[in-house]
Symmetry: C2
Subunit: 432 residues, 2 copies
């Protein structure tokens, strides 16, 4: 696999950020190593990054990554090794693992992800079976994959405080289901190790909690390597008690958008960036790019037509949106064959294990690339993000990937803090 071409049109400031990251590589790794002495990383996670040249920032942190099939298989051994390490910290005695995927069995892309993840878990030495929350699956059911493989999903069986499938009593349970529809009672109070914990699911989790935790991480990191934290951190704000159908809260949302656009404008001025600011309005809980809007003016969020209101008001599992995060829009300046490309970095335990580009030909650099019906082309990274070439140019591929891996791990660290803070009770301690 050859290194994907990366445009470097806005070379100046980006090179500066990457150069600082590279120069500080030993300090960064030392600092991260110390952070992981204090905090336990989630079992796995993926981070959507946006690279604006002047800014390289995470815009979403997924704790139930669904694109393992998009990783370069040559890097699977990194995942195997990371799983071995994760098992040591979470459940060293585990032999049998139950993997619970999402319910959408008709999405073969997703099923291929489950197959790739299962393969990595098996290579790490686990006996893996797939249990499903899907009520339509009442007996072991096989699904054919495009590459000729088969996946068998089995209905979950609960015995007292133990969860399993018929004839299989697992030592640990791994969710690849983000619990958007709420926490199913069958998962509650089980005695096996459950990864990630239930409060990592979108039934409880909020993007604003994550980015509040990320604020602290980004500030500490920026101090460490002497950069403006804004260059790795998008502004965000929180608007709740919205009702898009009843048009409740529209004005509050518009004010928040307007204030944020002003803040971005002033940062652009400070850094000499000639760009029109924009913000992203997203459901505070949820994924799959549903309930997402890109706006350039406060007017864009008042007087939405019915179609727009419908789009914003419903996310996955038909849930209504009353609570949004308003996030600074970070344009992407990377493209591959004229198509906009957004890097996604995959991590297991504290390690970067690969990544890919979402390459999209129909969307502009300011749009959300993770949207329903969005047929992105995955392009596996040519580098595992862990092999900086200290003697190479800052914009050489291994070094750009290293910078991605660093910023992704900052988001992972924020997720660890977020999960710690939200762990003891469902009431959350981050003020957003």
């Amino acid at each position: 696999m050859t290194v994907p071409h990366l445009t470097t049109a806005l070379s100046g400031p980006l090179l500066d950020l990457e150069r600082r990251i590279l120069l500080a590589q030993p300090e960064i790794e030392h600092w991260l190593r110390n952070q992981w002495q204090e905090s336990t990383p989630p079992f796995y996670g993926s981070v959507d990054l946006r690279n604006a040249g002047y800014k390289l920032a995470p815009v979403d942190m997924n704790l139930y990554p669904g694109g393992f099939n998009n990783l370069n298989p040559e890097f699977h051994p990194l995942g195997v090794q990371a799983v071995m390490t994760a098992l040591e910290s979470f459940c060293p005695d585990a032999k049998r693992l139950l993997l619970i995927p999402e319910n959408h069995t008709r999405n073969t892309f997703y099923l291929q992800n489950v197959a790739a993840l299962t393969r990595i878990l098996k290579m790490a030495g686990l006996v893996v079976r797939l249990g499903t929350l899907n009520p339509e699956i009442t007996e072991p059911t096989s699904f054919d994959l495009p590459d000729g493989q088969k996946l068998t999903l089995e209905p979950l069986v609960r015995n007292g405080r133990r969860l399993g499938v018929a004839g299989f009593d697992p030592c640990a349970v791994l969710l690849n289901n983000d619990l958007s529809a709420g926490i199913p009672p069958i998962l509650e109070g089980i005695e096996q190790t459950l990864l990630p914990p239930l409060h990592a699911g979108w039934a409880v989790r909020r993007k604003t909690h994550h980015f509040a935790a990320y604020d602290h991480v980004a500030n500490d990191f920026a101090k460490l390597i002497g950069i403006d934290p804004w260059t790795i951190n998008p502004y965000f704000d929180h608007v709740d008690q919205l009702d898009f159908h009843a048009r409740t809260g529209e004005e509050r949302l518009a004010d928040t958008v307007s204030q944020m656009l002003e803040k971005i404008r002033s940062k652009y001025k400070e850094h000499g960036i000639d760009h029109d600011p924009f913000v992203i309005v997203k459901a505070n809980a949820g994924t799959y790019g549903m309930g997402v809007m890109s706006v350039k003016s406060a007017d864009d969020v008042v007087g939405l037509n019915r179609k727009q209101r419908n789009k914003m008001s419903v996310i996955k599992e038909g849930l209504e949106v009353h609570d949004v995060i308003v996030q600074e829009g970070v344009p992407t300046f990377e493209s591959i064959n004229d198509a906009v490309a957004e890097p996604v970095v995959y991590m297991m335990d504290r390690f970067v294990v690969g990544g890919f580009y979402r390459v999209h030909t129909d969307r502009g650099p300011e749009e959300n690339l993770n949207a329903p019906g969005m047929h992105f082309v995955p392009l596996g990274f040519a580098s595992p993000c862990t092999t900086p070439d200290c003697d190479g140019e800052p914009d050489s591929a291994p070094n750009r990937f290293y910078a991605y891996g660093v910023v992704a791990r900052l988001a992972l660290l924020a997720a660890a803090h977020e999960l710690e803070a939200t762990a003891p009770a469902v009431h959350l301690s981050f003020a957003a």
Copy 2:
């Protein structure tokens, strides 16, 4: 890089051993995971394996591996990740590392190993400098490598209980020097973390202690997967108080050889193996394949001529040999383009990070392939040994490599036990 061709002439019993290893993969990984909860792996190590078809066994365990340049660079990220894990257990706060290589600065192959190892350590986030024990190097001295790189070796500086080089006070010291010439006083009693510990060097270490520890590991493992431990463990015995020049102990050595040949003959009979047994007589301390003899009869060790006696009596650094291990000879049945091939597996922390074949055109399948002047061709493994294909044939390349990785990790575990047992005092507790 394509998968090297592997002959499978003696397919039966080998396939059986590999099939058992593959079938038991989850049990094996679980068992190893538990072992590493009790024992700390050495920082790094390499294992020479011999594959006889009916037997797959380690014949040497090196705690100062010198062939990192022979690994497939595509697997370097595995080393980077393993070093990150090792640092967490040995010295999480380490930023600066001093690497002390062997003294032979004229061996460019070895210097390339130092360069490759340094690169992995740097990618893991360490600031690395090279300090040398070589008295000829009295100021920082650069050496050119064939690929255009440079290595700079600096004289060691001792300040009280701290070791470093001028202007560099490291947090940890890593030896890639096996201390065959004894423990230099400058290394004694330093307060920094020293890896591996001094008693891992050949000044203290004995092969018989390693293989005594391996006996236990091999027995436990054989019980786990239900095999005859002999299929993964060569017989060994110990003969000391030898003087090859004075011909003292010749008869004792001959008796030991003769008894071992008899034991092997009886095992061959039990397993229906049609092969002439042979044994290897090696210096009990030392490396680089010096002081090694392959013998097929007790007569081969009595009445050695002067040349043979000279060859056996002196190893690296001109040390005299008075103490040998007599080890069951394991023929290799692997060949690449008609040349005999011996696999060498590399590990960092508890992880397999790659390997290569020593491919030798001049030597027979029963000879030692690690000999002075032996210009082996290194052929990097095409698989990282961690990606078993449970649905594939037992003799498919990933599975064969997986079996290599398992047996190599058994030797690594034995090294951990060996180092524990020899740690508290220089007096050793293994009876061999």
